[in-house]
């Protein structure tokens, strides 16, 4: 038996999973229309490749991946493109994004597709295929899967973790997927294993899903894989990637570390493994997903639904009670109320909860913080939420960063336990977005400064060049006069002319040389001046730094240099300018 570790904190809210996990996955009927947002994953927004009036087939590419971190988007069924236009995204911001609206023709006719020839493919080809098939993390973040399938350089890949923890209350889509389609998840896991070459493969499932654990174990055994299926203690947020890594391996991946691969571990959601396998074995892109319909409904259950299905149409399948006053996408701990009920299901829509005041009573009025520390007791990243709250409230954002606000994963445990009913996570989101906004402003200001400095430098240089041109003209004038004088002197005695020529030619040459030197010197001086100005403008708060800060600064400097932004463009372009 694998030795399990604990993560600090966490909470045990009522799970509400039994409402929806006792019925098999059903298939949703064809919706009246589909609104497929192009931006459904982290990274570049795919470029639309269809236009209004186009006929599309099921599985046809409609959005082409833009850049490495981006994934393609496909038509979920056959039909006609009604429009490519801006529609509200299922996102708390309520902002619009470019969507392809499709009117289904009812035939649901597939585009020609074939299994991917895995045997003769290089890893790069597999990555390209997954990207082309739109395989992204379906656990919530929507990170393009191929971007996580490359081991970090210099770090051995120890563990590949398949996340079936599903720790949020109400959600059961992964549970049902594991129960019904375990073999394909395991095959997808094997695909990831072949690409990452980890030392071991762990499949983590919360122990409140014994059927899923059994199904996965049976599939692993049946397929002869040596993956370890682990039932992890049920405690929210055990399904957070970093928490699951901690529980299964004991490793703590710092919040500041972008990729867990740097610690030799990579995590994928079970549904991601499933869709990756479908993409490889059947050539099917990601055009549907399992969604849990639950909450204030008469018939909570899971459905397989086409991406782009409007949420209100979908939720009707579960027969919401009349007092439903909103739709919650995701779980009740980290989910959000969608901006309107017509927003579409996207790749990361794992659960729709019909919201009502009966189910989620309005919060009691906020009281002052009594520093009881309950929030710190449950914070899985071991932060001091009440301190961050204090400073966020005071808009002292520097202090919130000292208390590591960016390590906060917004899991909501602190708000869940707070006896003063303070919406702590809201305060942290506010502080984070304020800090980001300020950083953007600062960056813009820095860029403006760099532009200004370059302009100044250019003006200096032009002035120098002008002065030099004048000098050259004056010198040429002088040389001409001298030559004329010489010619005049030589005229009476033509015999002396060659001698005179011999005398003036070197003089002219040396004049040109000195001109060139003078020009070089002025340019040099201008460069020196610009450099001195630049240095004078450097921040002066770098005097008393801890070794740690100095190291950080050195790293930043190295990165800047690597990116070629260390020197303002003026200096590097200077030689060419001459």
């Amino acid at each position: 038996m694998l030795n399990l570790f604990k993560f600090w904190g966490g909470v045990k809210p009522p799970s509400h999973k039994t409402e929806s996990n006792n019925k098999p996955i059903s298939v949703a009927p064809m919706p009246s229309h589909l609104v497929v947002p192009l931006h459904q994953s982290i990274g570049g927004t795919p470029k639309p490749v269809v236009k209004a009036g186009d006929k599309v087939l099921k599985g046809q590419l409609i959005g082409e991946a833009d850049g490495w971190i981006s994934a393609a988007v496909h038509a979920p069924t056959s039909g006609t493109v009604r429009e490519v236009a801006m529609h509200v995204r299922p996102h708390p911001s309520g902002l619009d994004s470019l969507c392809v609206v499709i009117d289904p023709d009812g035939r649901d006719a597939w585009i020609e597709h074939a299994p991917f020839d895995l045997a003769s493919a290089a890893p790069a080809d597999v990555f390209a295929h997954l990207q082309r098939s739109g395989v992204v993390g379906l656990g919530g973040a929507g990170f393009p899967a191929h971007g996580k399938l490359t081991p970090a350089p210099n770090v051995a890949m120890d563990e590949l973790i398949i996340n079936g923890a599903e720790c949020e209350p109400y959600i059961t889509c992964d549970d049902l997927l594991m129960r019904e389609r375990a073999a394909e998840i395991v095959r997808g896991t094997a695909l990831f294993r072949d690409l990452l070459q980890p030392k071991k493969v762990l499949i983590g499932i919360e122990d409140n899903k014994p059927e899923a654990v059994a199904a996965m174990q049976a599939a692993v055994t049946a397929l002869g894989e040596n993956f370890t299926v682990v039932a992890v203690p049920t405690r929210y947020p055990a399904g957070g990637a970093k928490q699951l890594i901690r529980v299964l391996t004991g490793k703590e991946v710092p919040g500041s570390m972008r990729s867990t691969a740097e610690m030799g571990v990579q995590v994928f959601n079970v549904a991601t493994a499933y869709t990756a396998w479908r993409a490889v074995a059947h050539g099917e892109p990601v055009i549907s997903r399992i969604v849990t319909l639950t909450g204030n409904v008469a018939e909570p259950h899971n459905v397989e639904v086409l991406i782009g299905t409007p949420m209100d149409e979908l939720l009707k399948l579960a027969r919401p009670h009349p007092d439903t006053d909103g739709i919650l996408m995701g779980g009740p701990m980290m989910g959000f109320l969608v901006p309107n009920r017509q927003v579409p299901v996207v790749k990361t829509t794992n659960c729709l909860i019909a919201h009502s005041e009966r189910l989620f009573p309005p919060k009691a009025p906020e009281m002052p913080c009594i520093r009881c520390g309950s929030c710190a007791q449950v914070c899985p990243h071991e932060l001091q939420p009440f301190e961050m709250y204090w400073y966020a409230r005071a808009k002292n954002f520097g202090k919130t960063q000292e208390y590591n606000i960016f390590d906060c994963i917004e899991c909501g445990c602190c708000s869940y336990v707070c006896p003063s009913r303070i919406p702590l996570v809201q305060y942290f989101r506010f502080a984070k977005s304020e800090i980001w906004a300020r950083e953007r402003e600062k960056k813009a200001a820095d860029e403006a400064k760099a532009r200004f400095e370059f302009k100044q430098f250019r003006e200096e240089r032009e002035k120098a060049e002008k002065a030099e041109k004048l000098a050259r003209a004056a010198a040429a004038q002088a040389a001409k006069k001298a030559a004329e004088a010489a010619a005049a002197a030589a005229e009476p005695a033509a015999g002396e002319a060659p001698a005179a020529d011999a005398r003036t030619a070197p003089a002219a040459a040396s004049a040109a040389d000195s001109e060139k030197a003078a020009k070089m010197a002025t340019i040099q001086a201008a460069m020196e001046r610009a450099k001195a100005q630049r240095e004078a403008a450097q921040p002066r708060n770098t005097g008393e730094l801890t070794p740690e800060q100095q190291r950080d600064l050195a790293e930043i400097e190295a990165r800047r240099q690597a990116a070629g932004i260390s020197e303002p463009p003026a200096a590097t372009q200077e030689p060419k300018a001459e």
Binding site: P332, K363, M367, E382, Q384, G412
Partner: protein
């Protein structure tokens, strides 16, 4: 459409629940107090509660805060009960009243009300009163003083003369006074044999009141209203110091058990030093806070000029709490080997 931020699920917890549980945890001690020392404490509890709610309502009104919301949070009642339990049981009504009003108005609301007070309001009231009315704050009834409840009420409300029997010393005080006499033949053992003042292992009667606080405190810990660090460190440091001196000279220093069950030790360790608002919040900070309060309480009660040292010990540690917190920030997830 409605708007609400995540999380949508909330645990059933509130400030008033926390405060109510603190009050419930005080009940075993109060029962022992009323039974063994005298029912007058119940009258004092009522006076203090009344004064606290009155002052709270007045200040909330003044500050334009919702009355019902804050009056029902129970924090003023906790302060009131701690004041009643730390003042002498037959103290005149106006002293308990004044102390409580001072605590609510000055120690709590002037600083911004609930959650903002740097000092424990009940201990501020105690300190203010012991400095202002040292004599009356030192008049403790002799246990076994047979007085009917009505007579006790008469004394509290000044309707009967404050008889000499009231001005008995506390067990701690008696010991210190004896020590101060400089009598070389003095022996703690002889003193403890005085069954008028001393019981089985500490002050007569008071030892069971302290046991009641211990039971209530352990329940609070069991309910996770308080964490273990402060009581353990408080009791630990006080036991270590008193134990060391007792081993060094058992004739002149009382044993640790006596100190644990005397004065405000257990009330302080479980109910006063654990106040989250004015105390430390980090795990290591709580240990330092508790240990510091325990040490200071012992030093003040044994070598200082006051009958007990818990109030001043807690106030002094309240002063240090922000700095202790700042210096004891725990390493966060993933950064433990980098600190």
């Amino acid at each position: 459409m409605i708007f609400a931020p995540s999380p949508f699920l909330l645990k059933d917890a509130s400030v008033s629940q926390v405060m109510t549980q603190v009050c419930v945890a005080l009940i075993p001690g109060i029962i022992a107090y009323a039974w063994l020392v005298g029912p007058a404490i119940l009258v004092q509890l009522v006076i203090a509660t009344f004064a606290a709610l009155l002052a709270e309502a007045f200040m909330l009104k003044l500050r334009g805060k919702p009355l019902a919301l804050f009056l029902s949070d129970g924090s003023a009642i906790v302060t009131a009960w701690l004041i009643a339990l730390t003042f002498p049981p037959l103290a005149p009504w106006w002293m308990v009243f004044t102390g409580t009003v001072f605590a609510i108005v000055f120690a709590k609301h002037i600083y911004g009300g609930l959650g903002q007070n740097p000092f424990n309001p009940a201990m501020v009231a105690f300190a203010v009163c012991i400095v202002s009315f040292p004599a009356m704050m030192s008049q403790w009834p002799a246990v076994g003083l047979e007085l009917r409840l009505l007579d006790q009420i008469d004394i509290i409300f000044g309707l009967a003369p404050r008889v000499d029997a009231l001005s008995s010393a506390t067990p701690l005080d008696a010991m210190k006074t004896a020590l101060r006499m400089g009598d070389s033949n003095f022996d703690i053992a002889q003193l403890l044999a005085n069954q008028d003042i001393y019981g089985n292992f500490a002050g007569r009667g008071w030892e069971w009141v302290a046991t009641g606080y211990l039971i209530g405190g352990l329940w609070l810990w069991h309910r996770r209203i308080i964490s273990w660090q402060v009581p353990v460190a408080f009791i630990g440091s006080l036991t270590l110091l008193s134990g060391a001196l007792w081993l060094y000279n058992p004739a002149a220093f009382a044993n640790p058990v006596f100190h644990l069950f005397s004065g405000g030790t257990l009330l302080g360790a479980f109910f006063i030093a654990t106040d989250p608002v004015s105390g430390c919040t980090t795990p290591r900070g709580k240990l330092i806070f508790g240990a510091g309060a325990g040490l200071l309480a012992y030093v003040i009660r044994v070598f200082g000029g006051y009958p007990d040292g818990v109030a001043f010990a807690v106030l002094l540690m309240n002063l240090s709490a922000p700095v202790i917190d700042l210096l004891t920030q725990p390493a966060i997830f993933g950064m433990k080997d980098k600190k």
